[in-house]
Symmetry: C2
Subunit: 111 residues, 2 copies
């Protein structure tokens, strides 16, 4: 399998398939620092990144924001003093698409 | 009362008083678009700001980040496509200080 972080998002349609349980298990191996979390029935990927202060946290938020704009796929980014919590999922399908794993892997590269 | 948005944060000590219920009721009048919310026993102020897209949301996050750095008081900023959720509270006292109301009022001015 080509490394996830080297891949780009596919354009995602509302009828695109969510990842299956088997795919989820396989893909989680590629992004070991992320956790699958469920909120209101929607499965998401989440990771907390730690920083020395607010300025470094905000700088990371901006690097991630640039990546999100470049790929037309946008996470939820919680910026706090010394910490950024990133959550990826695909709104259109109400769950996880392969794109989200690619974006999680690419987020790791920005850290 | 001097307009909240024209004020600056006082340096906040761990033994600084939380706002009383009477002060809370008074101060909420000055920031009508904010809601008091309680998370794990900690009272906070929260407002959701709406934007046309991700880029505008992230620009607001950066304006708010600059204010936070200038005042040495930092909120939680959740940046999403078209929306920024801002939460103010004072970590040192585990609740709301007058500073948080000043910062909420100043956040409104950045919108």
């Amino acid at each position: 399998m080509t490394e996830l972080a080297a891949q780009h998002c596919d354009a995602c349609r509302a009828d695109a398939p969510r990842v299956s349980e088997a795919e989820l298990a396989e893909l989680m191996h590629a992004i070991p620092d992320w956790q699958p979390v469920e909120e209101e029935g929607v499965l998401m990927l989440r990771r907390v990144f730690s920083f020395r202060n607010f300025k470094e946290a905000l700088a990371f938020t901006n690097r991630l924001g640039a990546l999100a704009e470049a790929e037309f796929h946008h996470p939820a980014i919680l910026t706090e003093w010394g910490r950024v919590t990133v959550t990826w999922w695909t709104h259109k399908i109400g769950g996880l698409h392969r794109n989200d794993f690619i974006m999680a892997a690419r987020t790791d590269k920005l850290f």
